[in-house]
Symmetry: C2
């Protein structure tokens, strides 16, 4: 099942908040529905957010069939949608790079009639390129894993998070197709359980042996059992290789370092933000308190207590063994530039 | 509110699974109700489990008022209850040390008439001694904390877990009464949320500034903010100072070591098991898969995935800065013996 598709002038997407209990898809020609889906994490995962935003912009270019108010020009509608989309989630840079490309396409249009088809063309290209990048990341990353590997991952950097086979999970499924994967452990990924709900669903669906644990169990697993690698995705990577990813990633990186286990980050070059020299400058989204204070229908944090709800953390580059992009395996020292992104062999210039 | 009380021949206890939403107490003269309460974590926390088990044994000595079947002798009923209680939870050694004391009392009884009053006397003593040990631990531990301290704790080692003010939380509330606590961070403590539900409830009820975070956030907090200490309780401590405590404790210990933060364990000497030379011999309870696969009413782990659900982990002694018992502050090298338990200054013989 594709997490997002363009079909006959509409966007069809899977509501990821309902997995694994229900597979519910929504079809829409309203860009605002996509905006809301990104905000609520019905659509999530850094590369997929970029793709969805691009399609939402393409939708905005088409005049609404039954507009309650004057539809304005295509360019106006597109700019309005871009502004709303840019305000959904601050950390994943893929959102902003996708919007940047859509803006460039808009600016290059010779006349209004070109806008809708050209924007759709670019959105489709962003989608297709992401699929190709995932495939390449999978091949490069699989080469890093030993035979019979036990691997830990976190959150969901899979097909559900991208336009293709996924980044971290693309590495795992590619390695699995080569017979290299013994077992995958995934932290449930509090507070929204993307590891339990999405990664376990994807991997078990691919016939890969996957075990869910509390996020706090990973270091204990590392002393109880041989773990060959930790591999995660990324929401934004600074020029020096600092990595913003789901809260708990830094904990895993330090635990891996403590136990002598390589820690790999798999991400397309669209996730690299060469404009930021280091990770301290990456904006970290803080989610609503309710994601922590309620579980199911019950209140679990009493009213008198505060909560701290960063959606992401930043892992300093010194704890990242390698960053795998579609261009190859980058090793420290990392030095990503606008023009070369995740160049093979990376860094060291 | 007391988590457990002996009242007019009955045991009255708070159902901790219902906190913080509901404060429900149960009154019973049936030892089987206590057995079930321990098994379901309505009564939890290593010292409190020991106290509850002692009271359950005392209840068993009293002939049932309306027995469906012949009640047997008091000694038989007591031995039957002890066997059931010993099978409830394997990790907390306080359970077994309390049962051991009750057994000694039983063995010393001169005749059947003595059994019920003598067993109650011992159970009350175990309860009162635990309260006194908590108070002493609080005083010794508070001395370890600097002024204006920001402290991380995990799970619940508070009044709800003991017969007194708690162990780790006893240290925190004692330090707070001396004006030394700025803020407490607590991991929510997956899967059963004891940090969110119980510790946040206790500390906010005491007017202490408490912030709940995902368990995976602690290392990131350590780079974002000054953290002065991590302090936790224990379920069993081996002779060499290895500490079994709630899953996630080892993760915190390594994170504290990585960030140069002291890691303290607060526990009465009843938690020390000098018969085990090291922590590898501590039996670690594995909880039901459902504690991880369901959240609220919804399934979050798909059927095709496995789960790993250790209730505890073991922190090797080299990551424990000090162990605070009612006898004082023990520092490495730890060497606990049957006759000296948590002797002040500890170890090194």
């Amino acid at each position: 099942m594709e997490p997002i598709e363009w079909r006959d002038g509409k966007v069809r997407f899977l509501d990821q908040t309902q997995l694994p209990a229900r597979e519910i898809t929504t079809e829409t020609d309203d860009p605002l529905v996509i905006v809301e889906a990104i905000r609520t994490l019905a659509i999530r995962g850094a590369p997929l957010i970029g793709i969805a935003a691009a399609y939402a912009v393409a939708l905005a270019a088409v005049p609404p069939v039954a507009a309650g108010k004057p539809p304005g020009t295509a360019a106006d509608r597109v700019r309005g949608a871009m502004e709303l989309l840019a305000g959904t989630r601050p950390t994943a840079v893929n959102l902003f790079s996708a919007l940047g490309r859509m803006k460039e396409t808009l600016d290059r249009c010779a006349g209004p009639a070109e806008i809708a088809p050209r924007l759709l063309e670019t959105a489709r290209a962003i989608h297709a390129e992401d699929a190709a990048m995932c495939a390449a990341i999978g091949r490069f990353g699989a080469g890093l894993l030993p035979a019979d590997a036990t691997v830990i991952t976190h959150c969901n950097a899979g097909a559900l998070a991208t336009g293709g086979i996924g980044t971290a999970l693309g590495v795992i499924t590619t390695a699995s197709s080569l017979g290299k994967i013994r077992r995958v452990y995934v932290g449930e990924t509090r507070p929204l359980f993307q590891g339990a709900r999405l990664t376990a669903w994807e991997l078990s669906g691919s016939g890969i042996d996957v075990t869910v644990m509390t996020d706090s169990s990973a270091p204990y697993l590392m002393i109880k059992e041989r773990v060959d690698a930790v591999i995660i995705g990324a929401d934004r990577i600074a020029a020096n290789g600092d990595v913003a990813n789901k809260i708990g990633s830094y904990a895993l990186a330090r635990a891996a370092a403590d136990h002598g286990i390589p820690f790999y980050v798999a991400a397309p070059t669209t996730t690299i933000d060469p404009s930021l020299p280091e990770g301290g400058a990456i904006p970290i989204e803080v989610r609503a308190a309710e994601e922590l204070t309620f579980s199911g229908t019950g209140r679990i944090v009493p009213g008198g207590a505060s909560v701290w709800t960063p959606a992401f953390d930043v892992t300093p580059h010194e704890y990242v063994t390698a960053i795998v992009t579609e261009n190859g395996v980058n090793r420290p020292p990392y030095s990503f530039h606008a023009e070369d992104g995740g160049r093979p062999g990376g860094g060291g210039k």
